[in-house]
């Protein structure tokens, strides 16, 4: 997959720190280290899963890649071109290559537009005068919507169909990357499978790459080629999915995987139950962020943050134990 082609999307040491302000003078009293130095590359036609618990910074990372928020530091490259410093106008010209699918399809759709107009909107912005109708019809068919549904409004669709509509819109300009932020979490179990299959199909047909942000490990495993596990703003492990799920190297990944209930009665599980909650990203623990909950933590973990190191080809982990 890596081959000789350059990555479609790459981030280097990306950071986002939010100031915490209090009082009448809005003095800064602290900093939320939402994303604290993450790096990865996304190859053409690949799906990179980004998993972690709430507050780990996975959605903030996604918004930075999309340039919906400005990074505090770090570099973002789209098709080899650096985009993190670009202004809104310059960015707008490149938006055709970078699209997004959010969790809640209803709030992503303008309730006053008909389905057809929603899917046609990006086309009108980028390819004026082109055969818009034809392309919209094609997209409807590709995402499994019927042509007679074009005249409907978003509220007339079910949750799964709305997500199909969002996907059709994201796909309209043949982007090289779609950032999917929890795209199936709001859907019913029986409908989830439809959307997951659709995303897989579209990737095979059009070679689009996905950054797939989700908290459901089984879903991420199913759809991704590689998976990055985040904890408190940092990537703690990044590996091809089979390596990660068969042989997790970071204690947090291990605990996370063992915590997932398995739909098999009597399945013997050696569950590692972590104590406590995820610490606040306002004052993350020094050293390795995970040391407060890690069953194997030692003195070094409390002072020195571990670097993300390649343990075997393509398998990275940030842990002093490895």
């Amino acid at each position: 997959m890596t081959g000789s082609r350059p990555p479609v999307l790459e981030v280097r040491d990306l950071k986002k720190h939010f100031p915490v302000r209090r009082g009448m003078l809005a003095r800064q009293v602290g900093t939320v280290y939402a994303v604290d130095g993450i790096s990865f590359a996304l190859w053409p036609g690949e799906t990179l899963g980004l998993v972690g618990e709430s507050g780990c910074g996975k959605s903030t990372a996604g918004k930075m890649m999309l340039k919906l928020i400005e990074p505090t530091a770090g570099e973002i490259y789209l098709d080899g071109e650096r985009i993190d410093g670009l202004g809104r106008r310059a960015m707008r010209r490149r938006r055709n290559r970078l699209q997004v699918v959010f969790q809640d399809p209803y709030s992503s759709l303008n309730p006053r537009l008909r389905a057809k107009a929603i899917v046609a909107e990006p086309l009108r912005n980028f390819v004026p005068g082109a055969a818009v109708d034809e392309r919209v019809a094609e997209l409807f068919q590709q995402v499994g919507l019927r042509p007679d549904q074009m005249a409907r409004f978003p509220h007339e669709f079910s949750g799964g169909q709305r997500q199909r509509l969002v996907i059709a819109r994201a796909l309209a300009l043949r982007p090289s990357v779609i950032v999917c932020d929890e795209p199936v979490s709001a859907l019913d179990v029986s409908v989830q499978a439809q959307v997951i299959n659709l995303l897989g199909e579209l990737q095979q047909n059009f070679g689009v790459a996905y950054v797939f942000i989700a908290h459901d490990l089984a879903v991420v495993e199913h759809i991704s080629h590689r998976v990055a596990v985040m904890y408190l703003g940092r990537i703690v492990e990044l590996a091809p999915k089979r390596a990660l799920f068969a042989n997790p190297q970071h204690p947090y990944t291990e605990a996370l995987l063992s915590a997932v209930p398995v739909p098999e009665p009597g399945a013997v599980s050696q569950r590692i139950v972590l104590d406590g909650d995820v610490p606040s990203p306002v004052n993350p623990p020094a050293g390795c962020h995970f040391h407060t909950r890690c069953p194997y933590a030692m003195a070094r973990c409390r002072s020195e943050p571990p670097a993300l190191r390649e343990l075997s080809p393509g398998h990275f982990a940030a842990c002093h134990l490895r």
Binding site: A193, I196, N197, H215, H222, A246, P261, P265, V273, V278
Partner: protein, 349 residues
């Protein structure tokens, strides 16, 4: 800390005992401007003392409305319990006066909801909220009630319980709030605990803590649990028996092992196959398609003719569209509502 697995042997003896709760032909409909919503349409099941029964289904299947009906917490209007009996320890809860019902809620039957933040009162300290249970149901004095509240907080594994008494819900994390909910729910040693998606709003590592807590508390108190969930993983892990609901009706009921080993309703089968499983990529080669259930969850506005799953069912025949299949016993404690149940192909796991 490693978790302890529940022992299935205990459950077998318990199932034989007289039921603690018996729901019979429960019908709860909502009368809205757009028509009648048949949220629960003739559901029956029972819970034995000390048993964990899972009620599983997707949104809109009626699982939550069923449990709210048991406690008579359905807002009326628009909701109304049209028919049925809910026998708890011999008395029909649907016939009780509101006063008597209040003595049961939070005392003999208590309930835990998905979002602890909306179930806790934001302007009262958690100490006050837990001790209220004791003053109301046990007639305790403030002092004694507060002492018991601290005990409850310790029981559910909240550190520094004494100090936490003065804290407000917003000062606690999601997992801690849910522990507080458990402390309140279990304060009066209820015989039945209804837990409606108790871990859905929590992160997976916190969910593991709460499940652990539920198992420990159950081993200690012997409370029967109705676990309402959409997660098949949770069902497999926690329940002894399972009721599968679809479109306001019970479509299958079975002991948990039997349900997963041999699901007999096409909906249960499809549901089991449509969920991706952890580490499934290690066995197969490359990406596999998930089994889809075509179509959408039905609207409950129109009175169905025939089986409500028929429009999405791969095995539906003419008869399924004509008349609703009754529940039929197919094996020990395993009943299913499907005309074609005996003719379904052998399942490939």
């Amino acid at each position: 800390m490693r978790s302890i697995r529940a022992l299935p042997a205990i459950c077998k003896t318990m199932a034989a005992a007289a039921p603690l709760l018996e729901i019979e032909n429960l019908k709860t409909h909502f009368f809205t401007r757009d028509g009648v919503v048949r949220a629960v349409d003739g559901v029956s099941f029972s819970v034995a003392p000390g048993e964990t029964l899972a009620v599983v289904g997707e949104s809109g299947c009626g699982k939550s409305v069923t449990s709210l009906s048991v406690l008579r917490l359905i807002a009326s209007p628009p909701g109304r319990i049209l028919d049925g009996r809910v026998r708890f320890l011999g008395q029909d809860l649907l016939q009780l006066s509101e006063r008597k019902m209040r003595a049961i809620r939070g005392n003999e039957i208590s309930m835990i909801f998905q979002e602890p933040m909306t179930s806790l009162n934001p302007v009262l300290s958690i100490g006050r909220q837990i001790s209220e249970t004791f003053t109301l149901h046990r007639g305790m004095r403030q002092e004694a009630a507060r002492a018991r509240a601290v005990e409850m907080l310790r029981l559910v594994g909240i550190p520094e319980a004494q100090q936490r008494m003065h804290q407000y819900p917003h000062e606690l994390s999601g997992g801690m709030r849910q522990r507080v909910m458990f402390a309140m729910a279990l304060a009066c040693d209820p015989k039945l605990l209804i837990a409606d998606e108790p871990t859905t709003a929590l992160d997976v590592t916190v969910q593991a803590q709460i499940l652990d807590l539920m198992r420990q508390l159950k081993a200690r108190t012997g409370t029967a649990i109705i676990l309402i969930t959409h997660s098949l993983g949770l069902v497999a892990e926690m329940a002894q028996r399972v009721v599968v609901m679809y479109g306001g009706r019970k479509v299958e009921e079975a002991p948990v092992a039997a349900l997963f080993a041999r699901p007999r309703h096409p909906y249960t089968r499809a549901l089991l196959r449509s969920v991706p499983r952890l580490r499934s990529s290690l066995a197969g080669d490359g990406q596999q398609r998930l089994a889809e259930i075509p179509g959408v969850v039905p609207s409950l506005r129109e009175a169905p003719t025939g089986c409500i799953f028929a429009p999405r069912c791969a095995h539906a025949v003419e008869r399924c569209r004509q008349s609703y299949p009754p529940l039929a016993l197919k094996a020990a404690d395993h009943s299913v509502a499907c005309w074609e149940a005996d003719r379904l192909p052998e399942r490939t796991p």
